[in-house]
Symmetry: C2
Subunit: 196 residues, 2 copies
């Protein structure tokens, strides 16, 4: 990582508001940090190549000081048009979004955007492995939820259905992702189980 | 695209310095613009899902003005750790980097970084379709150059070999990518030809 001027980076607002409470399982790390560590571990063991895409930024103004790095002086966060993570595992294209909720009883669909749903549908049609990783931080549980199972919930909210997936449904339909010391969110074990 | 305050975005320095000269084939568009349009076309026809990853930015300071969007007040361009483009085509993982050179006689290897080479090697090992798109802007020609053919040139530069790939070699080993009105850099036609 490159920290010019020795300054530490900060995260976009959405991530700053994540729960920082310490529990035994995730030890205060956000889902994103856990997945990044897991991906680094997978990469180091040559198991899979999965990366998080950079946060999309609309750059409006840049200064080019002499003898030092270009500085972005004005920029804005843009909404991502795809999911956050993709890559390759066992010759298959893998694509997923990760979301954390403090809600105990359901996963609010407002966490997902319509263009992400469209992207996920398209990935499924093209034969990719596509899913959501949902963490219920209050339960300290992280689930693998196949995209194909998400779409009916998504559609239903526009036909008078509820605007969230009940926790019980996530438990029943999804797969609890095991925690390992090195693969903190070991989603490849679920992919092995479901797709191979 | 989201342009807060009606301000138009600017591109990072590296891209600003791209040739803007108008030629008949590419009509003054950069390689990146041509590939983005091609990918949008592929997506609209449901042929493939390939996206450019956002430019990685290290965000250092953000203001949160009342009643308006968060503003990045200090940020820096980071070096990408992977290639710029990836996605799925015909159930295969596709991964590539695109580079433009004004050099008439060779493609300088300094355009590629070592971690990108490592990433591309890894993608090849995992069964992905991995390649370079090289545009010789002075010749108005764009080539598909398989990653597997790139590695020997990369290694050779550390053993007294030349630090570039001769234009003649790119012509001989690579495939000239056809220009179509809608698919301006129609690289899927080359993938069809080489991998299926």
């Amino acid at each position: 990582m490159n920290y010019p001027n020795g300054k530490k980076p900060i995260m976009p607002l959405a991530r700053q508001t994540n729960s920082k409470e310490i529990s035994f399982g995730n030890r205060g790390m956000t889902l994103e940090e856990d997945i990044n560590e897991t991906n680094t571990y997978y990469l180091s063991r040559n198991k899979a190549i999965i990366h998080k895409k950079p946060t999309p930024v609309q750059i409006v103004r840049v200064d080019y000081p002499k003898r030092s790095a270009a500085v972005i002086k004005e920029g804005y966060f843009k909404q991502a048009s795809t999911t956050d993570y993709n890559g390759i595992y066992r010759e298959k294209y893998v694509d997923f979004e990760a979301k954390e909720t403090k809600n105990k009883t359901s996963f609010p669909l407002s966490n997902i955007h319509e263009h992400q749903i469209n992207h996920m549908k398209s990935v499924c049609e093209h034969g990719g492995i596509c899913f959501l990783i949902i963490r219920f931080s209050q339960h300290d549980e992280t689930y693998f939820f196949p995209a194909m199972k998400l779409f009916p919930y998504w559609e239903s909210q526009f036909n008078g259905g509820r605007k969230s997936i009940p926790y019980k449904d996530v438990q029943r339909i999804g797969n609890l992702i095991p925690f390992h010391y090195q693969a903190r969110v070991d989603y490849l074990s679920i992919i092995d189980h479901l797709y191979f």
